[in-house]
Symmetry: C2
Subunit: 222 residues, 2 copies
């Protein structure tokens, strides 16, 4: 009940903060590329689109990496955040479902530059096995187990139609994948130890539509 903190830097970071760290990291990379050596919480907050108090509080969970009266060393902070998130290491990733979206994902340069390496593209449709996408052969879905084992893959991306998604997730879980990024518009059921994040395009649009409807309401509806 006492020693909740593990030996390393493992004070547990709030989920909301974890979700913002990658934004800060990106802002720091930009600043670094512009040649900025030091920045205040105010500047970084502006670049990240949050307020400075929240930024400072978020960073304080990682440790005391700033200097009062001065600000943060851009490269140092950048490294600390990258290490905390885990993007200093290499993350092999498998993408299943190589339709339009899967191809877009395979070609997305933002993965590679952040430590994510696409080790395989899989698709159940034999017609797609001829293709080469982003320099990678599309292979049969059945190869999943072998690939996951050979490359120690922990993260899987699902970009299949909704009907196939649960089966794909089950297979992924069965062969040891513990983190899933799901683009299929369906709710996945997985064991508690597996993390799932979902990205749902039409839901985002529907949320916008709701607010949009609110804006114009009252003006039109007499």
């Amino acid at each position: 009940m006492t020693a909740r903190t593990s030996p390393e830097s493992a004070r547990d970071i709030p989920e909301a903060t974890v979700a913002r760290l990658p934004v800060y990291l990106r802002a720091l990379v930009s600043l670094s590329e512009e040649g900025t050596a030091t920045c205040s919480s105010e500047e970084l907050a502006l670049a990240a689109g949050v307020n400075s108090a929240k930024l400072r509080k978020d960073l304080s969970y990682l440790g005391s990496y700033g200097t009062r009266g001065v600000g943060y060393d851009v490269d140092y902070l950048r490294y600390q955040i990258a290490r905390e998130i885990g993007v200093t290491q290499d993350w092999p990733v498998v993408i299943v479902g190589i339709g339009n979206l899967g191809q877009a994902l395979a070609n997305y340069s933002g993965f590679r530059s952040r430590g994510f390496r696409v080790v395989a593209l899989l698709d159940a449709d034999p017609a797609r096995h001829e293709q080469v996408v982003a320099g990678i052969d599309v292979r049969p879905f059945d190869h999943l187990e072998r690939i996951v084992r050979d490359h120690s893959v922990a993260i899987g991306v699902i970009a299949t139609p909704a009907v196939a998604a649960q089966d794909v997730a089950d297979r992924m879980v069965a062969c040891g994948i513990t983190s899933i990024l799901n683009f299929a518009p369906t709710v996945l059921t997985v064991p508690a130890e597996v993390d799932v994040r979902k990205v749902d395009l039409s839901i985002e649009l529907q949320i916008l539509a709701y607010h949009e409807q609110r804006k114009t309401q009252g003006a039109v509806t007499a």
Copy 2:
């Protein structure tokens, strides 16, 4: 200061609830297609991946559409949620940036089926103006103003590279778009009355990586 509620069904719904309504809607559509006429909060909650108390509370913001001892009429509730979100009406949408991702979005059937109609695909690159994607001509970005005016477009989707995104957003705002869905990995600055939602692929992966690192930590690091 007193009359905060507008005449219609405009008791303000919490943001967290708004984000879940589309999920419920999708679950209801599935149930309806399976021929289910009635469902309990427990069943619907299971299908939507939330707990039943939260579901009931969410639905209670819309009104009392259930029957105690019985449950919810699937089609009736489906219509009520659709109306509340605004997907019973037609939403013209413009997509800017017809690279891999833009093409995937243009081809995504989930938009059309929920009242979103892609009225134009725009790209700054003249090489793309020859193309036809998802049955729609790709047109020059300069046509934005005219298209937005002619079709009363309120929602814009940005799928350009990061460097172009802010310019695109500015142009969208200037010609009257008030809701933006941003896929470019950058922070957009817009006036307060404009809604922006961002979908960031690499951030999602980084969040997974953080948790993944936590899982394996301690076991490996001696």
